[in-house]
Subunit: 212 residues, 2 copies
DNA sequence: CTCCATATTGACCCGCGGGTCAATAGTAAG
DNA sequence: CTTACTATTGACCCGCGGGTCAATATGGAG
C-alpha cells in the first residue's frame, strides 16, 4: 500500500465495484466485536480503508449496513444448507451424524458471531429474524422433521413429535456454539464442537442409558 | 394516584428503601425490550415513576444499573439451582426429567430475556458473563457432570465424556428457550417447553431409534 | 409548629456518533 | 492534454441521551 518516498497523503482510489464488499467485511468485524449499538461507522470506514462518507454512499443508514452484513453471511452458508437437504433421504443413523458434523463446522466459522447478533437484535430487526428463520432455521428444522417422519413411518424411530425430536438433535450443537461464543474469554474449558457432534450423534440415536 | 380536583403536579414521595428495587424492575423491562444500547434511562425513570436524576442517585452509571438487573434475576433463581443440586444423587432416569422440567419452568419466567441480554452483551460485560458462568451455568453443568460420572461408575450410563453428555441433556432446552425468544414475533409455531422437556428426557435417556 | 437533614427533582450540559454535502481528485473518452 | 463525469472525501451539523447539580419538597425530630 504505502510505497511513495515521503509520507504521501493516502491516495484515493476509485473502485466502485470493490467497495461494498470491503465495507461489509469491515462492518462484520466491528458489529461482531461491539454489537450493533456500540459499533461506530467511523471505525467501519477506517477498517475498510475508506472515509466515513463513502460508507453512506453505499449504505444509506447504519441499519441498512447491518442488514447487508447479516444477509451476506447468511447467503454464504445457504449452499451448505442446500447440500444437507440433498442428503435428507438417507437413513437417520447416517443423516444425523452428517448434520451434526456440518453444524460443528459452521461453529468454527463466522456463523456464531452472526447468530449472536441475530439473537441480540431480533427485537430491533424483526425482518432479519424473519429472513434468518425462513432461510436457515426453518429449512434445517423442516428437512429434519421430514426425515424423522419418514423414519417413523418405516418404524425406525420411536413415536413422538418430530419437530421436538429435531430440537433434541440440533439443540446441543446450538448450546455448544453459544457457550463458546459467550464464555470464550471467561473459561478455558470450552466444549470441542466436533467431539460434541460425534458423541451427541451416538447419544441421541441410542440414548444415554447402557443396554440392560 | 391522581385525586386532587385539578391537575395536581405529581406529588413527590420519599421512600429510600423501595426505590432501588422499583428502578431495577423498570430497568429490567426496558433492557429486555430494547437491549442495553437502545435502552433510555429516561424511560426507565418514567416506568419507575421517578425522575431521571433519581436513577443516578442509586445507580451511578447505566452499566451499574445493567449489572444490578442481571444479578437481581440471577439471585432470584439461585435457589432453584440449589434445590436441583440437592436432588443430584438420584438415579439419572429420575434426575434428568426433573432438571428438564425445571428448565421448562425457567423458560416461562424472566430468565430467557436475561439470557438474551447476557448473550448479547457478554463481550461488553465480561464480568457479568463470568458471574453468570460461575453461579449458574457452571453449577448446573457441574452437578450434572458429577451425577453422570457416578452413573457411569455404576455401569448405568454408556462410556463417554460426561461434560458433553451434559450438553446433550440441557442443550435442547436452551435451544427451545432461545427459539421462542428470537422468533416469538415471527412464527406462530413455537415449541412447547414442557412437552419438549418431557419428550427430550425420554429421548436422551433411551435414544431416538426404536428397539430392534 | 418549626427546622433540619436529605430524598427527589428536572432543567441543563456536552460529547458522541449518525448522517450531510460542497469540494476534490481519479479516470476515461475524445 | 483537456474535459467531463463521478467516486471519494472529511469537515461540519445537530439531535440524542448519559450524566450533573442547585433548587426544592418531604417528613421526622424536638
Amino acid at each position: 500500500m504505502q510505497n511513495r518516498t515521503q509520507v504521501p497523503p493516502p491516495r484515493r482510489q476509485r473502485r466502485k465495484e470493490a467497495r461494498p464488499s470491503e465495507i461489509v467485511a469491515a462492518a462484520f468485524e466491528v458489529f461482531a466485536e461491539r454489537g450493533f449499538g456500540a459499533a461506530k461507522l467511523e471505525e467501519v470506514a477506517r477498517r475498510a480503508g475508506v472515509a466515513k462518507g463513502t460508507v453512506f454512499v453505499y449504505f444509506p443508514t447504519k441499519q441498512d449496513l447491518f442488514r447487508a452484513v447479516a444477509q451476506n453471511v447468511l447467503s454464504s452458508h445457504l449452499e451448505r444448507v442446500a447440500g444437507a437437504a440433498s442428503e435428507s433421504d438417507r437413513p437417520l443413523p447416517e443423516l444425523v451424524p452428517l448434520l451434526l458434523a456440518q453444524a460443528a463446522k459452521a461453529g468454527e466459522s463466522r456463523v456464531p458471531a452472526v447468530l449472536r447478533l441475530i439473537i441480540a437484535e431480533a427485537r430491533a430487526f424483526p425482518d432479519l429474524a424473519q429472513i434468518w428463520h425462513d432461510e436457515v432455521v426453518g429449512k434445517v428444522l423442516g428437512l429434519l422433521t421430514q426425515a424423522i417422519k419418514r423414519a417413523q413411518a418405516r418404524g425406525e424411530v420411536r413415536p413422538g413429535d418430530p419437530k421436538l425430536y429435531a430440537f433434541s438433535i440440533m439443540g446441543p450443537m446450538l448450546a455448544g456454539v453459544i457457550f463458546r461464543e459467550v464464555f470464550h474469554a471467561t473459561t478455558t474449558a470450552l466444549p470441542d464442537l466436533p467431539k460434541l457432534a460425534a458423541q451427541h450423534a451416538r447419544t441421541v440415536l441410542q440414548g444415554l442409558l447402557a443396554p440392560l
